[in-house]
Amino acid sequence: MSEEQRPVIIYEQVRKNQIKTFILIAFYIIIIFMISFAIGYYADDMVLGAGIAFFVVFILLPIQMLTGNKMIGAKTHWQEANMSNPGENKVHHLVEGLSLAAGLKETPKLYIIPTSTPNAFAGGLSLKNAYICVTTGLIDILDEPEMEGVLAHEMSHIIQRDVLVSTVSIYLMSAAIVLGSILFRMSRYNMMFGGGTRSRSNSREKGNSAAAFAAIALAGLILSFVIRFVARLINLAISRKREYVADANAVRLCGYSEGIADALEKISKYTPEYSKQQVADLGGDEMLCLYIFNPTQWVMPLFSTHPPIEERIKLLRNMY
């Protein structure tokens, strides 16, 4: 927990995060290319290897990234903030102010979800198309310093590029693991059959390698479920840490820790548990991990996206 206590300048942090994000993504892409080429090598077809890599990085990844936003919009029925509504207008002014304080060149867009459950989340894959989304319930129950705290928390997620990092890295990480396991199977198969596929020009062995490939594909499919699970666990660990960092940066942005602490307390007391309808209004189960407050309680803390709310409030109150 040393990172959140270190005084970081928001602006400097934006830059460092850009570099870190870039390195992380480049690292995943390189690994995917390496594994794909290795698969190509074992399958005796380098074009196949290159094809897999290109397909994963240049077709599946952009599709994943481009459709994410629309899906969230469709699930939550959000609307752009209406400036003639005094409550929404106030939130909009706070967002403008906080993006000044954070030094963002463009103010994130503001969306409103029409539900009485108080909650908020931030999204957008780049600083340019970043957005903050709050529910009407949140506007109703929070006063200005509290709302400022919540918005500052979301602004920190934008600055930390959490959405981009989690979307891209989860996807690439899972892809790397799936491909890696295929490769592992292939190399083992090769060892068992004395590297048959590497020696060419024998038609029987060609048929052999096709059967092997089918078996490998099936194994890969089964494995990918296991891998998704592992990837999810890693994601949870990352996102828990990022929640703490976002809380700390929120305090730095508004120079005031009581706002966000009070807000978290209010939100968690207002709806300690969500009904099915409430979860649906917020966009469904898999959306919940994006929100500032996620009431889903898992038996093991390992499985929760957010640190316990009491822990966050306690840390915030001790901050200044």
């Binding site: 300048i9 928001i10 400097e12 102010g97 906080l98 000044l100 304080a101 030094g103 120079g255």
Partner: protein, 183 residues
Amino acid sequence: MKYIFIVIVLLIIWFIFMYNGLVRKKNYIKEAWSSIDVQLKRKTNVLTNLVDTIKMQTKYESETLEKIVGMRAQMLSGKKDEAMDANDKVSKMIPSIMAISESYPELKSNQSYLHLMEDIKNVEDKIAYARTRYNMTVVDYNTAIQSFPTSIFAKMLGYTDEKAYEISDVEREYSDNLRISEL
């Protein structure tokens, strides 16, 4: 010989990073200041309109109104000390402008007056935010040039301490009141 060479190369690399860091941090300050400047311009515009509206509506003349108009040039001067000083003085006068509406009820029902009061509150908030950021960049820069060993070179390269414009407790209290009060 080889080791001396390696050490020198490492020193040069360190120096480049240090120097670029200083340049970058100084530019952050510049940028942060320009966002304060933008808000100050907005504030003078709003204030000018506000003074005009009050004068038109109430035929009320006062020293305060004249003073506020007189501060315009200073707030837009671009000189940090002068502009911030003028800004603080103007902010302190705003409550007395608000008090005018107590004795002129027609102002309270005037739409453009109410709008302008809303704008004032908004622009004051924005200045506070921009100032927070400015102060953050200044603290970051000052820490960098005061830490050893950068401190040795910073002076030589002409990098000197910058001044932060802390928001005083009185002002914070005042702006909190401005927030809470129903305009």
